[in-house]
Protein backbone atom coordinates (compact mmCIF):
# COMPACT_ATOMS: atom_id res chain seq x y z
CA UNK A 1 0.00 0.00 0.00
CA UNK A 2 2.83 2.37 0.91
CA UNK A 3 4.59 1.52 -2.34
CA UNK A 4 1.38 2.10 -4.31
CA UNK A 5 0.87 5.48 -2.65
CA UNK A 6 4.51 6.36 -3.32
CA UNK A 7 4.06 5.48 -7.01
CA UNK A 8 0.85 7.54 -7.25
CA UNK A 9 2.51 10.50 -5.52
CA UNK A 10 5.40 10.30 -7.98
CA UNK A 11 2.94 10.14 -10.88
CA UNK A 12 1.05 13.19 -9.58
CA UNK A 13 4.32 15.14 -9.33
CA UNK A 14 5.15 14.18 -12.92
CA UNK A 15 1.60 15.10 -14.02
CA UNK A 16 1.92 18.52 -12.36
CA UNK A 17 5.24 18.91 -14.17
CA UNK A 18 3.48 18.11 -17.46
CA UNK A 19 0.86 20.79 -16.73
CA UNK A 20 3.48 23.24 -15.48
CA UNK A 21 5.57 22.97 -18.64
CA UNK A 22 2.81 24.74 -20.57
CA UNK A 23 0.77 26.69 -18.01
CA UNK A 24 -1.06 28.86 -20.53
CA UNK A 25 -2.02 25.85 -22.64
CA UNK A 26 -3.18 23.96 -19.55
CA UNK A 27 -5.24 26.95 -18.40
CA UNK A 28 -6.84 27.39 -21.83
CA UNK A 29 -7.70 23.69 -21.99
CA UNK A 30 -9.25 23.91 -18.51
CA UNK A 31 -11.31 26.93 -19.62
CA UNK A 32 -12.51 25.11 -22.75
CA UNK A 33 -13.51 22.10 -20.62
CA UNK A 34 -15.12 24.43 -18.07
CA UNK A 35 -17.24 26.25 -20.65
CA UNK A 36 -18.31 23.00 -22.26
CA UNK A 37 -19.33 21.60 -18.86
CA UNK A 38 -20.96 24.84 -17.70
CA UNK A 39 -23.42 24.88 -20.61
CA UNK A 40 -25.34 21.68 -19.75
CA UNK A 41 -24.66 21.99 -16.00
CA UNK A 42 -26.04 25.54 -15.88
CA UNK A 43 -28.99 24.61 -18.06
CA UNK A 44 -29.89 21.59 -15.93
CA UNK A 45 -29.56 23.66 -12.76
CA UNK A 46 -31.95 26.32 -14.11
CA UNK A 47 -34.40 23.59 -15.06
CA UNK A 48 -34.14 22.13 -11.55
CA UNK A 49 -34.96 25.57 -10.16
CA UNK A 50 -37.94 25.86 -12.52
CA UNK A 51 -39.03 22.37 -11.53
CA UNK A 52 -38.89 23.38 -7.88
CA UNK A 53 -41.20 26.34 -8.53
CA UNK A 54 -43.65 24.27 -10.55
CA UNK A 55 -43.42 21.44 -8.06
CA UNK A 56 -44.41 23.76 -5.22
CA UNK A 57 -47.39 25.02 -7.19
CA UNK A 58 -48.36 21.72 -8.69
CA UNK A 59 -48.28 19.60 -5.58
CA UNK A 60 -52.02 20.23 -4.99
CA UNK A 61 -53.86 19.93 -8.30
CA UNK A 62 -57.43 21.10 -8.06
CA UNK A 63 -60.57 20.46 -10.07
CA UNK A 64 -63.20 23.21 -10.05
CA UNK A 65 -66.83 22.18 -10.64
CA UNK A 66 -69.16 25.05 -11.64
CA UNK A 67 -72.89 24.39 -11.34
CA UNK A 68 -75.60 25.47 -13.76
CA UNK A 69 -77.34 28.82 -13.48
CA UNK A 70 -79.79 29.56 -12.05
CA UNK A 71 -78.64 27.78 -8.93
CA UNK A 72 -80.39 24.64 -7.89
CA UNK A 73 -79.84 23.66 -4.24
CA UNK A 74 -81.03 20.10 -4.85
CA UNK A 75 -78.49 19.57 -7.65
CA UNK A 76 -75.70 21.09 -5.53
CA UNK A 77 -76.66 18.75 -2.68
CA UNK A 78 -76.60 15.79 -5.05
CA UNK A 79 -73.12 16.70 -6.28
CA UNK A 80 -71.94 17.12 -2.70
CA UNK A 81 -73.32 13.69 -1.82
CA UNK A 82 -71.57 12.07 -4.79
CA UNK A 83 -68.29 13.78 -3.90
CA UNK A 84 -68.59 12.55 -0.35
CA UNK A 85 -68.99 8.99 -1.63
CA UNK A 86 -65.96 9.17 -3.94
CA UNK A 87 -62.93 7.39 -2.38
CA UNK A 88 -60.40 8.90 -4.83
CA UNK A 89 -60.53 12.42 -3.37
CA UNK A 90 -58.20 14.00 -0.89
CA UNK A 91 -60.74 16.70 -0.03
CA UNK A 92 -63.38 18.96 -1.51
CA UNK A 93 -64.86 22.28 -0.58
CA UNK A 94 -68.25 23.77 -1.45
CA UNK A 95 -68.02 27.42 -2.52
CA UNK A 96 -71.49 29.01 -2.52
CA UNK A 97 -72.01 31.71 -5.14
CA UNK A 98 -72.27 34.39 -2.45
CA UNK A 99 -68.83 33.45 -1.07
CA UNK A 100 -67.37 33.46 -4.59
CA UNK A 101 -68.69 37.01 -5.11
CA UNK A 102 -67.17 38.12 -1.80
CA UNK A 103 -63.80 36.64 -2.85
CA UNK A 104 -64.07 38.49 -6.13
CA UNK A 105 -64.65 41.77 -4.34
CA UNK A 106 -61.82 41.09 -1.90
CA UNK A 107 -59.51 40.38 -4.82
CA UNK A 108 -59.60 44.03 -5.93
CA UNK A 109 -62.77 44.05 -8.02
CA UNK A 110 -64.97 45.76 -5.44
CA UNK A 111 -66.05 48.44 -7.91
CA UNK A 112 -67.11 45.90 -10.51
CA UNK A 113 -68.96 43.80 -7.95
CA UNK A 114 -70.88 46.79 -6.53
CA UNK A 115 -72.08 47.68 -10.03
CA UNK A 116 -73.61 44.25 -10.55
CA UNK A 117 -77.40 44.08 -10.24
CA UNK A 118 -77.37 40.39 -9.51
CA UNK A 119 -74.73 37.80 -8.61
CA UNK A 120 -73.68 36.19 -11.93
CA UNK A 121 -71.52 33.52 -10.30
CA UNK A 122 -72.61 29.90 -9.95
CA UNK A 123 -72.20 27.63 -6.95
CA UNK A 124 -68.94 25.72 -7.20
CA UNK A 125 -66.98 22.85 -5.69
CA UNK A 126 -63.17 22.85 -5.43
CA UNK A 127 -61.97 19.26 -5.41
CA UNK A 128 -58.49 18.06 -4.47
CA UNK A 129 -57.94 14.56 -5.85
CA UNK A 130 -55.78 12.02 -4.05
CA UNK A 131 -52.53 10.83 -5.67
CA UNK A 132 -50.64 12.57 -8.42
CA UNK A 133 -51.55 10.68 -11.57
CA UNK A 134 -52.54 13.23 -14.25
CA UNK A 135 -54.51 10.57 -16.17
CA UNK A 136 -56.61 9.89 -13.06
CA UNK A 137 -57.33 13.62 -12.73
CA UNK A 138 -58.55 13.70 -16.34
CA UNK A 139 -60.84 10.72 -15.67
CA UNK A 140 -62.28 12.42 -12.60
CA UNK A 141 -62.91 15.63 -14.55
CA UNK A 142 -64.72 13.63 -17.25
CA UNK A 143 -66.81 11.89 -14.59
CA UNK A 144 -67.82 15.23 -13.02
CA UNK A 145 -68.86 16.65 -16.41
CA UNK A 146 -71.44 13.87 -16.75
CA UNK A 147 -73.13 14.66 -13.44
CA UNK A 148 -76.50 16.42 -13.46
CA UNK A 149 -76.43 20.17 -12.88
CA UNK A 150 -72.74 20.52 -13.69
CA UNK A 151 -72.07 23.29 -16.20
CA UNK A 152 -68.24 23.39 -16.43
CA UNK A 153 -65.36 21.40 -15.00
CA UNK A 154 -61.91 22.99 -14.94
CA UNK A 155 -58.77 20.97 -14.27
CA UNK A 156 -56.45 23.53 -12.65
CA UNK A 157 -53.30 21.41 -12.91
CA UNK A 158 -53.30 21.30 -16.69
CA UNK A 159 -50.88 24.21 -17.02
CA UNK A 160 -48.56 22.66 -14.46
CA UNK A 161 -48.50 19.47 -16.50
CA UNK A 162 -47.65 21.41 -19.62
CA UNK A 163 -44.77 23.13 -17.84
CA UNK A 164 -43.63 19.78 -16.46
CA UNK A 165 -43.66 18.44 -20.00
CA UNK A 166 -41.64 21.46 -21.16
CA UNK A 167 -39.17 20.98 -18.31
CA UNK A 168 -38.84 17.29 -19.19
CA UNK A 169 -38.21 18.25 -22.79
CA UNK A 170 -35.59 20.78 -21.68
CA UNK A 171 -33.98 18.22 -19.41
CA UNK A 172 -33.74 15.73 -22.26
CA UNK A 173 -32.30 18.39 -24.57
CA UNK A 174 -29.67 19.41 -22.01
CA UNK A 175 -28.85 15.76 -21.28
CA UNK A 176 -28.33 15.18 -25.00
CA UNK A 177 -26.19 18.32 -25.16
CA UNK A 178 -24.23 17.09 -22.13
CA UNK A 179 -23.59 13.75 -23.85
CA UNK A 180 -22.36 15.46 -27.01
CA UNK A 181 -20.13 17.86 -25.05
CA UNK A 182 -18.84 14.97 -22.91
CA UNK A 183 -17.70 13.23 -26.08
CA UNK A 184 -16.09 16.49 -27.20
CA UNK A 185 -14.27 16.78 -23.86
CA UNK A 186 -12.92 13.25 -24.18
CA UNK A 187 -11.62 14.22 -27.63
CA UNK A 188 -10.06 17.45 -26.26
CA UNK A 189 -8.28 15.55 -23.48
CA UNK A 190 -7.28 12.79 -25.89
CA UNK A 191 -5.64 15.35 -28.14
CA UNK A 192 -3.95 17.26 -25.30
CA UNK A 193 -2.43 14.06 -23.94
CA UNK A 194 -1.44 12.93 -27.44
CA UNK A 195 0.52 16.17 -27.91
CA UNK A 196 2.22 15.65 -24.54
CA UNK A 197 3.10 12.08 -25.49
CA UNK A 198 4.63 13.32 -28.74
CA UNK A 199 6.75 15.97 -27.01
CA UNK A 200 7.89 13.47 -24.38
CA UNK A 201 8.56 10.65 -26.80
CA UNK A 202 12.28 10.50 -25.89
CA UNK A 203 11.55 10.31 -22.17
CA UNK A 204 9.09 7.48 -22.78
CA UNK A 205 11.51 5.55 -25.00
CA UNK A 206 14.39 5.96 -22.54
CA UNK A 207 12.15 4.97 -19.63
CA UNK A 208 11.12 1.82 -21.47
CA UNK A 209 14.75 0.89 -22.08
CA UNK A 210 15.45 1.41 -18.38
CA UNK A 211 12.69 -1.01 -17.39
CA UNK A 212 9.57 1.15 -17.12
CA UNK A 213 6.33 -0.80 -17.26
CA UNK A 214 3.32 0.38 -19.28
CA UNK A 215 1.65 1.31 -15.99
CA UNK A 216 4.60 3.48 -14.97
CA UNK A 217 4.38 5.33 -18.28
CA UNK A 218 0.58 5.49 -18.25
CA UNK A 219 0.15 6.74 -14.68
CA UNK A 220 1.29 10.41 -14.96
CA UNK A 221 -0.74 10.91 -18.15
CA UNK A 222 -3.87 9.54 -16.50
CA UNK A 223 -3.29 11.95 -13.61
CA UNK A 224 -2.71 14.77 -16.10
CA UNK A 225 -6.08 14.01 -17.72
CA UNK A 226 -7.81 13.82 -14.34
CA UNK A 227 -6.21 17.03 -13.06
CA UNK A 228 -7.13 18.81 -16.27
CA UNK A 229 -10.70 17.54 -15.91
CA UNK A 230 -10.76 18.68 -12.28
CA UNK A 231 -9.53 22.15 -13.26
CA UNK A 232 -12.17 22.26 -16.00
CA UNK A 233 -14.83 21.18 -13.49
CA UNK A 234 -13.77 23.96 -11.11
CA UNK A 235 -13.97 26.49 -13.96
CA UNK A 236 -17.46 25.17 -14.80
CA UNK A 237 -18.52 25.50 -11.16
CA UNK A 238 -17.27 29.10 -11.07
CA UNK A 239 -19.12 29.91 -14.30
CA UNK A 240 -22.39 28.34 -13.11
CA UNK A 241 -22.12 30.12 -9.72
CA UNK A 242 -21.45 33.43 -11.47
CA UNK A 243 -24.46 32.83 -13.74
CA UNK A 244 -26.74 32.08 -10.78
CA UNK A 245 -25.48 35.15 -8.91
CA UNK A 246 -26.09 37.32 -11.95
CA UNK A 247 -29.63 36.00 -12.50
CA UNK A 248 -30.63 35.80 -8.84
CA UNK A 249 -31.81 39.41 -8.46
CA UNK A 250 -33.71 39.73 -11.78
CA UNK A 251 -35.47 36.41 -11.11
CA UNK A 252 -36.34 37.46 -7.53
CA UNK A 253 -37.71 40.77 -8.87
CA UNK A 254 -39.77 38.91 -11.45
CA UNK A 255 -41.16 36.58 -8.79
CA UNK A 256 -42.03 39.54 -6.56
CA UNK A 257 -43.92 41.22 -9.39
CA UNK A 258 -46.13 38.10 -9.48
CA UNK A 259 -46.61 38.25 -5.74
CA UNK A 260 -44.37 35.26 -5.17
CA UNK A 261 -41.12 34.77 -3.36
CA UNK A 262 -38.45 32.82 -5.15
CA UNK A 263 -34.66 32.85 -5.23
CA UNK A 264 -32.45 30.89 -7.63
CA UNK A 265 -30.47 28.28 -5.72
CA UNK A 266 -26.73 27.62 -6.08
CA UNK A 267 -25.76 24.04 -6.89
CA UNK A 268 -25.79 21.78 -3.86
CA UNK A 269 -22.66 20.08 -2.53
CA UNK A 270 -23.79 16.82 -4.13
CA UNK A 271 -24.33 18.54 -7.48
CA UNK A 272 -20.88 20.18 -7.32
CA UNK A 273 -19.33 16.82 -6.41
CA UNK A 274 -21.13 15.21 -9.36
CA UNK A 275 -19.92 17.94 -11.71
CA UNK A 276 -16.32 17.56 -10.56
CA UNK A 277 -16.59 13.76 -10.63
CA UNK A 278 -17.90 13.77 -14.19
CA UNK A 279 -15.14 16.20 -15.24
CA UNK A 280 -12.44 14.01 -13.67
CA UNK A 281 -13.94 10.86 -15.24
CA UNK A 282 -14.03 12.47 -18.69
CA UNK A 283 -10.41 13.61 -18.30
CA UNK A 284 -9.43 10.09 -17.25
CA UNK A 285 -11.26 8.55 -20.21
CA UNK A 286 -9.62 10.86 -22.76
CA UNK A 287 -6.17 10.34 -21.26
CA UNK A 288 -6.60 6.55 -21.01
CA UNK A 289 -7.67 6.27 -24.65
CA UNK A 290 -4.76 8.44 -25.77
CA UNK A 291 -1.97 6.82 -23.76
CA UNK A 292 -3.22 3.27 -24.45
CA UNK A 293 -3.25 3.99 -28.17
CA UNK A 294 0.28 5.38 -27.94
CA UNK A 295 1.53 2.34 -26.01
CA UNK A 296 -0.12 -0.03 -28.50
CA UNK A 297 1.59 1.76 -31.39
CA UNK A 298 4.93 1.82 -29.58
CA UNK A 299 4.69 -1.91 -28.87
Amino acid sequence: MKGWLHQQAGAIVRALRHLGRNPLGSLLTAIVIGIALALPAGGLLLLENANRVVGDVGEKPEISIFMNMPPDAAQSAEVERRLTDLPSLSSFRYVPREEALEQLAAGGLQDVVSDLATNPLPDAFVVTPAGNDPAAFDELAEQFRAWPGVHTVQLDSAWVERIHALIDLGRQAFTLLAAILAAALVVVTFNTIRLQLMTQRTEIEVSRLLGATDNFIRRPYLWTGMLQGLLGGLVAWLLVSAMINTLREPVANLATSYGASFALGQPSLAEVATLLGVAVALGFAGAALSVDRHLREAA
Partner: protein, 219 residues
Amino acid sequence: MIAFDRVSLHYPGGQGGLTDVSFRLERGELAVLSGHSGAGKTSLLKLIAAIERPSAGTVTVGGEDVGALPRQAIPYLRRNIGLVLQEIRLLLDRSVFDNVLLPLTITGHPPADASRRVQAALERVGLGGRGGEMPLSLSGGEQQRVAIARAVVNRPSILVADEPTAHLDADYAGDIAALFRSFHAAGVTVLVATHDSSLFDDAAPRRLVMSHGQLAEVA
Protein backbone atom coordinates in the same frame (compact mmCIF):
# COMPACT_ATOMS: atom_id res chain seq x y z
CA MET B 1 24.50 -15.59 -17.65
CA ILE B 2 24.14 -14.74 -21.38
CA ALA B 3 23.75 -17.51 -23.95
CA PHE B 4 22.98 -17.38 -27.65
CA ASP B 5 22.03 -20.69 -29.21
CA ARG B 6 21.84 -20.63 -33.04
CA VAL B 7 20.23 -17.24 -32.99
CA SER B 8 19.11 -15.52 -36.18
CA LEU B 9 17.47 -12.14 -36.52
CA HIS B 10 15.95 -11.02 -39.80
CA TYR B 11 14.68 -7.47 -40.24
CA PRO B 12 11.82 -6.75 -42.64
CA GLY B 13 13.36 -6.15 -46.07
CA GLY B 14 16.29 -8.44 -45.34
CA GLN B 15 18.66 -5.66 -44.23
CA GLY B 16 21.31 -6.48 -41.60
CA GLY B 17 20.45 -8.88 -38.79
CA LEU B 18 22.17 -11.99 -37.49
CA THR B 19 22.60 -15.52 -38.80
CA ASP B 20 23.10 -18.59 -36.65
CA VAL B 21 24.99 -16.93 -33.77
CA SER B 22 25.99 -19.03 -30.75
CA PHE B 23 28.12 -18.09 -27.75
CA ARG B 24 28.00 -18.12 -23.98
CA LEU B 25 29.16 -15.56 -21.39
CA GLU B 26 29.45 -16.64 -17.78
CA ARG B 27 28.63 -14.52 -14.76
CA GLY B 28 31.27 -11.83 -14.11
CA GLU B 29 32.94 -12.14 -17.53
CA LEU B 30 34.08 -9.15 -19.59
CA ALA B 31 33.61 -9.52 -23.34
CA VAL B 32 34.39 -7.17 -26.17
CA LEU B 33 32.27 -7.35 -29.29
CA SER B 34 33.94 -5.98 -32.38
CA GLY B 35 33.42 -5.98 -36.10
CA HIS B 36 32.90 -3.67 -39.04
CA SER B 37 29.94 -1.29 -39.26
CA GLY B 38 26.78 -3.25 -40.02
CA ALA B 39 28.34 -6.51 -38.83
CA GLY B 40 25.46 -7.06 -36.39
CA LYS B 41 26.93 -5.86 -33.07
CA THR B 42 23.99 -3.57 -32.23
CA SER B 43 21.49 -6.26 -33.25
CA LEU B 44 23.15 -8.72 -30.88
CA LEU B 45 22.98 -6.24 -27.98
CA LYS B 46 19.33 -5.42 -28.77
CA LEU B 47 18.48 -9.11 -28.50
CA ILE B 48 19.98 -9.25 -24.99
CA ALA B 49 17.81 -6.33 -23.81
CA ALA B 50 14.73 -7.72 -25.64
CA ILE B 51 14.57 -4.61 -27.83
CA GLU B 52 14.42 -7.15 -30.66
CA ARG B 53 13.15 -10.74 -30.55
CA PRO B 54 15.07 -13.52 -32.32
CA SER B 55 13.64 -14.84 -35.59
CA ALA B 56 15.16 -18.24 -34.75
CA GLY B 57 17.20 -19.78 -31.95
CA THR B 58 17.24 -19.02 -28.23
CA VAL B 59 18.60 -16.03 -26.33
CA THR B 60 18.98 -16.74 -22.62
CA VAL B 61 19.76 -13.96 -20.13
CA GLY B 62 20.05 -14.76 -16.44
CA GLY B 63 18.28 -18.06 -17.06
CA GLU B 64 15.33 -16.45 -18.88
CA ASP B 65 14.47 -17.28 -22.47
CA VAL B 66 14.21 -13.72 -23.74
CA GLY B 67 12.37 -14.66 -26.92
CA ALA B 68 9.63 -16.39 -24.94
CA LEU B 69 9.15 -13.62 -22.37
CA PRO B 70 5.68 -12.05 -22.41
CA ARG B 71 5.67 -8.32 -23.16
CA GLN B 72 4.77 -7.45 -19.56
CA ALA B 73 7.87 -9.26 -18.24
CA ILE B 74 10.37 -7.39 -20.43
CA PRO B 75 10.65 -4.29 -18.16
CA TYR B 76 11.70 -6.52 -15.27
CA LEU B 77 14.39 -8.17 -17.44
CA ARG B 78 15.71 -4.73 -18.42
CA ARG B 79 15.93 -3.61 -14.79
CA ASN B 80 18.69 -6.20 -14.37
CA ILE B 81 20.60 -5.01 -17.43
CA GLY B 82 22.54 -1.74 -17.46
CA LEU B 83 22.19 -0.45 -21.00
CA VAL B 84 24.50 2.18 -22.50
CA LEU B 85 23.31 3.07 -25.96
CA GLN B 86 25.25 4.36 -28.94
CA GLU B 87 23.13 7.49 -28.75
CA ILE B 88 23.57 8.81 -25.23
CA ARG B 89 19.89 9.84 -24.97
CA LEU B 90 19.97 11.87 -21.79
CA LEU B 91 16.83 13.86 -20.97
CA LEU B 92 17.95 17.36 -21.76
CA ASP B 93 15.30 19.10 -19.64
CA ARG B 94 16.41 17.26 -16.48
CA SER B 95 19.51 17.77 -14.39
CA VAL B 96 22.33 15.24 -14.39
CA PHE B 97 21.10 14.04 -10.99
CA ASP B 98 17.53 13.54 -12.25
CA ASN B 99 18.76 11.65 -15.31
CA VAL B 100 20.64 9.19 -13.13
CA LEU B 101 17.68 9.02 -10.73
CA LEU B 102 15.26 7.86 -13.46
CA PRO B 103 15.91 4.07 -13.20
CA LEU B 104 15.40 4.25 -9.43
CA THR B 105 12.17 6.23 -9.89
CA ILE B 106 11.01 3.50 -12.26
CA THR B 107 11.75 0.76 -9.74
CA GLY B 108 10.11 2.77 -6.94
CA HIS B 109 13.13 3.19 -4.68
CA PRO B 110 12.54 5.21 -1.51
CA PRO B 111 13.73 8.80 -2.18
CA ALA B 112 16.43 8.91 0.51
CA ASP B 113 18.05 5.66 -0.62
CA ALA B 114 17.70 6.68 -4.27
CA SER B 115 19.52 9.97 -3.61
CA ARG B 116 22.39 8.16 -1.92
CA ARG B 117 22.68 5.72 -4.82
CA VAL B 118 22.62 8.47 -7.45
CA GLN B 119 25.34 10.37 -5.61
CA ALA B 120 27.44 7.21 -5.33
CA ALA B 121 26.98 6.43 -9.03
CA LEU B 122 27.97 9.96 -10.04
CA GLU B 123 31.06 9.81 -7.85
CA ARG B 124 31.94 6.43 -9.37
CA VAL B 125 32.02 8.00 -12.85
CA GLY B 126 33.87 11.10 -11.61
CA LEU B 127 30.92 13.52 -11.68
CA GLY B 128 30.24 13.71 -7.94
CA GLY B 129 29.88 17.48 -7.86
CA ARG B 130 28.03 17.90 -11.16
CA GLY B 131 24.60 16.52 -10.30
CA GLY B 132 22.88 19.90 -10.45
CA GLU B 133 24.10 20.72 -13.94
CA MET B 134 22.10 20.24 -17.11
CA PRO B 135 23.34 17.66 -19.65
CA LEU B 136 24.03 20.21 -22.37
CA SER B 137 26.54 21.98 -20.14
CA LEU B 138 28.69 18.80 -20.13
CA SER B 139 31.21 17.62 -22.70
CA GLY B 140 30.50 14.51 -24.82
CA GLY B 141 32.70 12.36 -22.59
CA GLU B 142 30.97 13.65 -19.45
CA GLN B 143 27.56 12.97 -20.97
CA GLN B 144 28.68 9.43 -21.69
CA ARG B 145 29.70 9.10 -18.03
CA VAL B 146 26.24 10.25 -16.98
CA ALA B 147 24.76 7.58 -19.25
CA ILE B 148 27.01 4.98 -17.60
CA ALA B 149 26.03 6.18 -14.12
CA ARG B 150 22.37 5.88 -15.17
CA ALA B 151 23.04 2.34 -16.42
CA VAL B 152 24.70 1.15 -13.19
CA VAL B 153 22.72 3.05 -10.55
CA ASN B 154 20.28 0.13 -10.25
CA ARG B 155 23.25 -2.18 -9.60
CA PRO B 156 22.52 -4.50 -12.53
CA SER B 157 24.26 -7.84 -12.83
CA ILE B 158 24.82 -7.28 -16.55
CA LEU B 159 26.20 -4.17 -18.24
CA VAL B 160 25.79 -3.89 -22.00
CA ALA B 161 27.26 -0.99 -23.95
CA ASP B 162 27.06 -0.12 -27.61
CA GLU B 163 30.09 1.86 -28.83
CA PRO B 164 30.45 3.85 -25.61
CA THR B 165 33.74 5.39 -26.77
CA ALA B 166 32.54 6.41 -30.22
CA HIS B 167 33.02 10.11 -30.96
CA LEU B 168 35.34 10.52 -27.95
CA ASP B 169 38.99 11.47 -28.13
CA ALA B 170 41.62 8.96 -26.96
CA ASP B 171 41.89 10.26 -23.37
CA TYR B 172 38.12 10.24 -22.78
CA ALA B 173 37.82 6.81 -24.47
CA GLY B 174 40.50 5.43 -22.15
CA ASP B 175 38.67 6.79 -19.09
CA ILE B 176 35.37 5.26 -20.19
CA ALA B 177 37.03 1.88 -20.88
CA ALA B 178 38.61 2.03 -17.41
CA LEU B 179 35.12 2.51 -15.93
CA PHE B 180 33.85 -0.65 -17.63
CA ARG B 181 36.89 -2.57 -16.44
CA SER B 182 36.19 -1.40 -12.88
CA PHE B 183 32.59 -2.64 -13.07
CA HIS B 184 33.89 -5.97 -14.35
CA ALA B 185 36.32 -6.07 -11.44
CA ALA B 186 33.32 -5.54 -9.12
CA GLY B 187 31.71 -8.73 -10.48
CA VAL B 188 29.39 -7.31 -13.14
CA THR B 189 29.08 -9.20 -16.43
CA VAL B 190 30.14 -6.67 -19.05
CA LEU B 191 29.63 -6.85 -22.82
CA VAL B 192 30.95 -3.89 -24.80
CA ALA B 193 30.58 -3.40 -28.53
CA THR B 194 33.47 -1.29 -29.78
CA HIS B 195 35.58 -0.53 -32.81
CA ASP B 196 38.65 -0.30 -30.59
CA SER B 197 38.95 -3.50 -28.58
CA SER B 198 42.52 -2.62 -27.58
CA LEU B 199 41.07 -0.29 -24.92
CA PHE B 200 40.21 -3.39 -22.91
CA ASP B 201 43.39 -5.41 -23.55
CA ASP B 202 44.71 -5.23 -19.99
CA ALA B 203 41.55 -6.89 -18.65
CA ALA B 204 42.05 -9.90 -20.95
CA PRO B 205 38.45 -9.95 -22.13
CA ARG B 206 36.61 -12.56 -24.17
CA ARG B 207 36.62 -11.40 -27.78
CA LEU B 208 33.63 -11.82 -30.03
CA VAL B 209 34.19 -10.73 -33.60
CA MET B 210 31.16 -10.21 -35.84
CA SER B 211 31.22 -10.17 -39.60
CA HIS B 212 28.20 -9.83 -41.89
CA GLY B 213 25.77 -10.93 -39.20
CA GLN B 214 27.75 -13.97 -38.15
CA LEU B 215 30.07 -14.63 -35.26
CA ALA B 216 33.39 -14.92 -37.10
CA GLU B 217 35.62 -15.48 -34.09
CA VAL B 218 35.35 -16.25 -30.40
CA ALA B 219 38.55 -15.96 -28.39
